[in-house]
Structures are given as structure tokens and as C-alpha cells.
């Protein structure tokens, strides 16, 4: 399998006056193409910090991140922005859609960063929206006119509009109810089956079950890793393996 992201001796320290907090401590990680990596850990373990450092949204204090053959650690802000638009997609806990733009425009504004062809981007956006069950009638609505689940599916489409090599998801179902959570997870699973590499941070076992690899983060280092294989619905063995793993990790 091809490795598309490598983190080496990653450290992240937050300073407040004389007080220093070491959130990531010499962390090493590799992500292979087609993986659905789930990062778990207790609150404050550094899950989100790791995600942002891997995606080039935040700069590590020490160590390096190599993604798609590019060493991004030394990049400036603008170069990182260009890197993200070309290789990364994001789904956040809140959908962060722009309330003043239609659903279609919210997706296109991201898509047009990488491809100037408006027609092509619009068609791809519509195709993806249909794929996540957002019907034509909703395309020109404003986000506030959609339900929470619909809004998050739009956010997922925005994340993948540029066909990113990596889709980073930071607790993408954190603000959703059970039904909508299932819907979003199905979308992500489907994308992964089509070859989309996903890195997801979560503390929800139901979400974690969808990944093929689960990495457990504790006190800034990865303390355990579980290989689950491809997701199949109703796989009770998979659920049990995950439960035991997390139990072992002290979760």
C-alpha cells in the first residue's frame, strides 16, 4: 500500500507565559492510501491538535509532516493554504456553512479554489449532493433552511469537492442526532469504499467502528493501534474487538 502521509517525531507545545503544555510528544504516524483511520482518545489527549497538525492547518513545534511527497512542515501560511486546497478536505463538528450563500454556492466557493471551470465544478457539486441525498430542490436554499443532518452532508460534499487525497473529519457527528449520525457515517463509509482516504477524530464508538484502523492517543503519544479491516454492517465481532481494545487502552 502507498503511504500518503507520514508524521515523524511530531511535537506540539502550547505556551502561556511561563506555563508550557506539551500536547503532542514525539508522535510518529503513517497513513496509507485508502485508509479510514480513526483517532480516539480521552478529552484533552491531543486528538484535534494531531488532526490539525497533519492537515497543515496548524504548525507543529517540532517534527515533520510529509504528505503526498511534500514536506509541509516548513511551509508559510499561504503555501499551506494552497497545499490544503489541493490535497485536503475537511468536515468539522459544526458544519460552518456560510449562511449568506446558497447550498450550491457553499460547495462551489471551495471547489473554485482548485478548478476555475464553473460549469464543471457545478456539475460535480450537484452530482455529489445527489449522492448524499440532498435533492435538487435544496441546492439553491440557504443552509439555515435545511435540517442539521442535511447541513452536515452539505459540509461533507464541500470537503470532497476538490477530490482531496485526504479527508480530515473532526468529530463530524458530534452535533447530530442518532439518525443523522448514521446517515453521515454511511456517506463517509461509502466514500472510503470508493477509495477516499479519511482521517477521523472521534470519541464515539459507533463512529470508530467504521474505520479500518483505530489509533488511540493518550497524553500526546499513540499508545495503541487496532486493525479492523473493511467495515461491514452488522459485524458484531468488529464491535467487540473495538470494545476490548478501548478497554485495554483505559478509555
Amino acid at each position: 500500500m502507498e503511504t500518503i502521509l507520514t508524521a515523524k517525531d511530531l511535537c506540539k507545545t502550547f505556551s502561556q507565559g511561563k506555563l508550557q503544555q506539551h500536547v503532542l510528544k514525539n508522535l510518529n504516524l503513517e497513513i496509507e492510501k485508502g485508509d479510514f483511520v480513526v483517532i480516539m482518545g480521552s478529552s484533552g489527549s491531543g486528538k484535534s491538535t494531531l488532526l490539525y497538525a497533519l492537515s497543515g492547518m496548524d504548525k507543529p513545534t517540532l517534527g515533520s509532516v510529509k504528505c503526498m511527497g511534500e514536506e509541509i512542515t516548513g511551509y508559510g501560511n499561504d503555501k499551506l493554504a494552497v497545499f490544503r486546497r489541493n490535497h485536503c478536505g475537511f468536515v468539522f463538528q459544526q458544519n460552518y456553512l456560510n449562511d449568506t450563500m446558497s447550498v450550491l454556492d457553499n460547495i462551489m466557493v471551495s471547489g473554485l479554489l482548485a478548478d476555475k471551470n464553473r460549469k464543471r465544478i457545478a456539475e460535480r457539486a450537484k452530482e455529489l449532493l445527489s449522492k448524499v441525498d440532498i435533492g435538487k430542490e435544496a441546492w439553491n436554499k440557504f443552509p439555515t433552511q435545511l435540517s442539521g443532518g442535511e447541513q452536515q452532508r452539505v459540509a461533507v460534499v464541500r470537503g470532497i469537492i476538490n477530490s482531496p487525497a485526504l479527508l480530515f473529519a473532526d468529530e463530524p457527528t458530534g452535533a447530530l442526532n442518532s439518525r443523522n449520525t448514521g446517515h453521515i457515517l454511511d456517506v463517509l463509509t461509502e466514500l472510503n469504499k470508493e477509495g477516499q482516504t479519511i482521517v477521523m477524530v472521534t470519541h464515539d464508538m459507533r463512529c470508530a467502528r467504521r474505520g479500518n484502523k483505530v489509533k488511540y492517543l493518550s497524553d500526546g503519544v499513540i499508545t495503541g493501534e487496532l486493525f479492523l479491516g473493511d467495515y461491514e454492517s452488522g459485524d458484531k465481532k468488529r464491535h467487540e474487538e473495538l470494545r476490548l481494545f478501548l478497554q485495554e487502552m483505559g478509555w
Binding site: S48, Y52, M57, D58, N77, D78, A81, V82, F83, R84, R85, N86, C88, F90, F92, Q93, Q94, Y96, N98, D99, T100, M101, S102, L104, D105, M108, V109, S110, L112, L113, A114, R118, K119, A122, N140, F142, T144, Q145, R158, D170
Partner: protein
Amino acid sequence: MYSLYFIAKNNLKKKKSDAFVLTGLITLSALLLYISISTLSNMGKVVEKAYELTNTADWYMLTSETATDNMEEIFDDQGDVESFEKTSAYYVVKSGYIVNGERSENDYTFLLALADEERNISRIYSEYEGELFDDEILLPYYMKSALKVEAGDRFSFEIGGHTYDFKVKGFHEDPLFANPMNVSVYRCYVTDKRAKEMAAEEKSSILPYMECKAKLKEGTESNRFLMEISDAINEKSPEATQTFNFSFIWSSMRYGDTMSASIGMGIMLVFAVLLIGIALIITRFNIGNFCEMNIKNIGILRASGYKESQLTGSFVMEMFLVSLTGSIVGLCASVLTGGFLGRLMSSIIGLSWNQGFDPKSAAVVMAVCIPVTMAVAWHSSRKCVKLPIVSALRSGMADHNFHKNYFPLEKSRQPLAMNLGLKSVFYAKAKNLGILLIVMLLGVVCCIGFGIYQDFAVDTDNLLKHVGMELGDVFYLGEDLKEFGQEVEKCPEVDKVLYEGSGDIKLLYGGKETAVTCDFWNRPEFLKNETIIQGRAPEFDNEIMLSVVICEELGIEVGDIVYVKGMEKEMDYILCGIDQKINNMGRKALMTTAGEERLNGGSTCGQLCVYAKEGVSDKELAKLLNDKYPQREAVEGKKMSGESLKPVILVMKLLCIIFMAVTAFVVSLVVFLLLKTKIVREKKNYGVYKALGFTTGQLLMQTVLSSLPVIVSGALLGSLLCDLVAGPLAGICLKSIGIYQYQMHVDGIYKIITLVFITGTAFLVAVLTGARIRKIQPVKLLAEE
């Protein structure tokens, strides 16, 4: 009440910079309002004080020495006259002046009054005491305040190639000759001996004259007195009005002193009111934005028992605090700038500005600024506090978004940044429409500034036309000019020569009577600075043209017959035209020399206006004539008028600068507020966009483009509309001084400057304000959730 104050104080703490900016705007409005109101109300007091201290003449006439022999008798017969006095003076037709070795740009007319002569009317009023020596001179206060001459400076007259040196002893204040806009003469005091010596040397340039001055009894109706004294002088001493002379009455001159300052301050007052309007629009924005951003808090306060009126009251209290602070700071600033304002006013009106802080004007400022701001706060906050509690708790306004999706990305053709900018503009249509109107108004104001600068400060020909001052390319003053004029007209370089005489006449129409000064020209149709607003110039001896002020006073129209009483007869004249003038407060009449002969049995000539042929400059013509006729002094018209028009030009330049400065300030303020609010409100969107891969530069451009189209459109509309709006607006202001027909002309280049100035200022402020986008870090924003 304390609970309202408590909420208001907390609200202000939350939006410190907005409150600071609004306070700044109210400060500026209060400052300009106070300056204009206090200046307009105190200007009269300054003039009145100088009038009392000098015992200024209520009626003044400068005329030939020989024509005043029986003046005392004439005035003894006048029941309205309290006292009468004659003093000698020397009229310097044209002189350059040198201060500390530096020669004046223009030549000017001087009146040398004699310091040794005793006088009770129009006494010398000067802070410099002691005897005046032969080598000393007392100059008019205007030369100190506007031309920056100092006591102790060397001052020289340059007349006919000779210089006459003096030491400046000091300055005197004379309300009749306060500034060149009033009477185009600098009246100075020298010793009798020195004046006589100079007059003996320069016979053609320094003419002996007599100042006749009268104090009138209290309650005397000046117009009636003017008619009576004109009749009496015409009857008993016709020579006094037939030779070169000028006469005026104090009731008219007092307005002349303050005219240019009044116009300037009037325009500043309008501008201050405009600024208050802008402050109110911004108050409305501020409250609207604050409600939108804090709607949940408003919901919580409502849920916990606050009444709508209490919440509205808190906004009113907030604006009360802001407007009170702004007004007080503005008034304090006016105290601090009082010295500068005093110097400025002195330099315009030519009298010392001795007014301190004016509590009445301050009270007016407070009474205007505070209540209107509170009223707007009350009105603007009503909508949001009335929102149902549940809606407010659910972020009310944002929950229900039924806006149209403007400029959909799928169909638009503009670059992405512009597309997103336009989306922002149209998303907040009402707000942007308000900004468009503000900028448009400022654009118009800027263009008015440039228009008056161009019409009154740059294009002095145009100003002369409005003033109605006809000087020709070269002119001569003096006596026996008719034959001399015929001689001058034969010169191959001379195109034509016009002769002017003047005299007081009485007009009778429809049972009304009035007295005016009438100019008599041999060929009025050739006058360059005559603005005829109806009909035509007089051609025949039975025609007269009157200024619009007189026509309105008498209710007379073109084609009507008016009875004119001159020195000998009462004749009927046809009103052939109506013109407009600033001088003599717009009260003038004009007829042909033939018309004068018909009325008075003879004609006068006190001034010759000589016009050069094409290709001959004023300077060349003056030199040529002075070389050819050394016994008479040929004066360049433009040089002379340049000095007279200095106060007007100064006021217009100042107004233009003030308009530009305030426009820059308000545009900066609007753009700053607009973008700051946008960045604060959309901080999360900016963070997400950065996370998605937008660079800071792209977001900055998008932000700048969200405000620039409105600003550019406003400035463009303002520049285009200025021709329609600026003229009539300026016209309303000028009507009060006799200018009824005024077409303001703003050159294309000034419109472009306005557009570039406003757009450039907005762009610069937008880029500087937008720079805070650089500080937005997506990780921090996401971590805050």
C-alpha cells in the same frame, strides 16, 4: 434607571471601538456645529464692538476736496443727523507695497488718512498708542491678521517708480474699511506732513480727497436718509457726486464686513448638519448590528423579565452616553481650537476676534446632538427588542433567511473574489443603500468644495462676474477722463474704452421708493462682468437696468416704467433688463451715459476701463500706456482685483480643504465600521475559508471588494449628480447675497479627483482594516467551539 445604565455600560464595553468611532463622529459634528453657530451669532457682536469703539460713521462719502465746501450746511439741515465731520485724506490710485523687502504680488488702492487731524467720527482704534512720527504708519488690522505684517516691519509704497518707506507703528481697526471685500481700499494713517510730501511727488497717483462722515440719530431709517441726503447733495453740491467719489451707509457695510465669512460659516453649518445625519445613520447600523450579534442575550434578558421599554431604554441610555461624551469632547475641542478660529476669523473679516466661549451656542449644540441621537437609538432598537423571546433565543433574525441568492457562482462570470464581494453587497442591500447615500452625499459635497474653489478661487474672472466688478484690462481713476479716454482709444493696441460714472438716484415704482447707486456706462453692452438674468443691457437714453434685489423690492418687471429722480429732473425709464451683483449688497442700477445726460443734464466719468486687442497682455498694455501717458497711472485690472478678492479666495480654499478632510474622515469611518463589523461577524467563515485553502490575500481582496463597489458607486453617483445638485444647493446659499442665477461648473478633472480621492481613501482604509484577517487562525476558532 441604574439597571438601564448597567446594561448600556456593558453594551458599550462590548463594542468599544464602535462606540469610540461614533463618539468621534459626534465630536466632529459638535465641533463644526459649534464653530458655525457661535461664529455666525458672534460675528455681528465683533463688528458692533468695533463700531462702538471707533464711533464709526453711519454715512460716509469720499469726494473731491473742492466739492465739500458747503457740506456742513447740507448736514445742518438734516434732522436725522446727530453730528457731521470732514477730514482730509489722500487717495492712492495704485500702489505696490513692500513688506520687509518683499513686494506684494498685486497693486492696490490705499487711502492715507491723517493721524494728526482730530476726529470724533470713525476715530482711530488701535492697541498701539502714542504719537505717530513721519516715518511711521498705522496699517489696517487686516494686513496683520491676513497678510501677516507685524508691528516694527518695514513697509514701503511703490508708486510710479518711487518707494516711500515707513516703519509699521501698529494696526487700526475700522469697520467701514475692515477687509478688501468691503471696500477695495486699504485705509492707513500717516502724518499730514508725510502725506503732503508724497502727494506733491505723485500728483497723478495720489489725489487729495475729503472724507465726509455723519452720525445719525438713533432709529433713523437708513434707506430714507440715503434718499434724502442724495437729493440734498445733488441739489446743493452737485460737484460732490459728479467727480469721482464713493459713499456708503453703515447699515449696508456691516454686512459687507462679514459677508465672505458668513457664506463660509453657513456652508460649514450645512456640512455639520450633514455630518450629524451621517452619525445618525451609523448609529442605526451600530444598533442593528449589535442586536443581530447579541440577539440571544436580548432573548435571555427578556426571558428573565426585562420589559421591551427597559431594553429600548438601555440602547437610548447608551447613545445618550455616547452623544453626551461626543458633544462635550467636541465643545472642549472648540475651546482648544478657539485661538486658531479667532485668528482665522480675524484674517477674513479684518477685525480682532475677541469672542470667548459661547454658552448659548454650546447649549444649542447639546440640544441638537443628544436628543436626535437618542431618538434614532430608540427607533432603531424597537424592532429587535420586539422580537418574540423564543425567536431571539434561537438566534432570531438569522433563523429565518429568505434572502435571494444574488450572483450564484454557477452562473456568474466575475472573478471569484469579486463575485463573493458582490454577494456581500447585495446580501445587505438596505445597509449598503444607506452607505451609498452617505458616500454619494459626500461626493456631492466634495464636488461643491471643488466647484466653489474653481468658481471663486481659481477662476477669478468668474468671481468678478458675480461681484459685478468691471475694471477692464487696464483702468484709470480720476477726473477729466473723457478726453483722455478718446486719446487712449486711438492707440493701436487698444480694442475699446468704456467710460463709467456713478451717482445716487431715487427710484419710484408702484408707490414704493428706494435709493440706489447707479452706474453710467457709455456702452453697457460691452461690459465683461455683467450677468444679465433677464432682458438686455440698456441701449437707449430712456432705458435702465436694475439688479434683481431692487426689482424684488419694488415688484417691478422687465418692460415696466420706473420713475427715476436724479439731480435735476424726474424722468421715466423703461426697465430693459435685470442683472445680479454682489457689491453694494446687490443694490445697483445701470444706464447709458446718454440716459444720465437725460436725467442730470450732463454726464460724469470717474473711471476709464481700457480693453486690449487680442494678443496684447494686460501688463503690456499697462506699460505701454504708462510710457505714453506718464501723467496718469494705468492700473492692471486683474492685479487690483486679486487683492480685493483675497478674503473670498481664502474662505473658499478653506472650505474646500475642510470638505475634503471631513469626507476622508467619514469615508474612512464608514469603511472601517463596515469591514470591522463584517470581520467580527464572519470571523468563523474566514477561519473556515482559511482551513479550506483560501489565502489571506484572497480573503482580503474579497473583503475589500465587499465594500468598494458601494463606495465607488456612491462616489461616482455623487460626482455625476453634482451638476444637478451642487448648483442649486450653492445657489440657495448665494441668493442671500444677490446671486440669483448661479450655474456651478465643476470640471471633469475635479469629478475624477473626487472619485479617486474617495475610492483611494476607502481602498486604503479597507486594506488596513482588512489586515486583521491575517490574524485569524482557523485552529483557534475551531478550538473555541
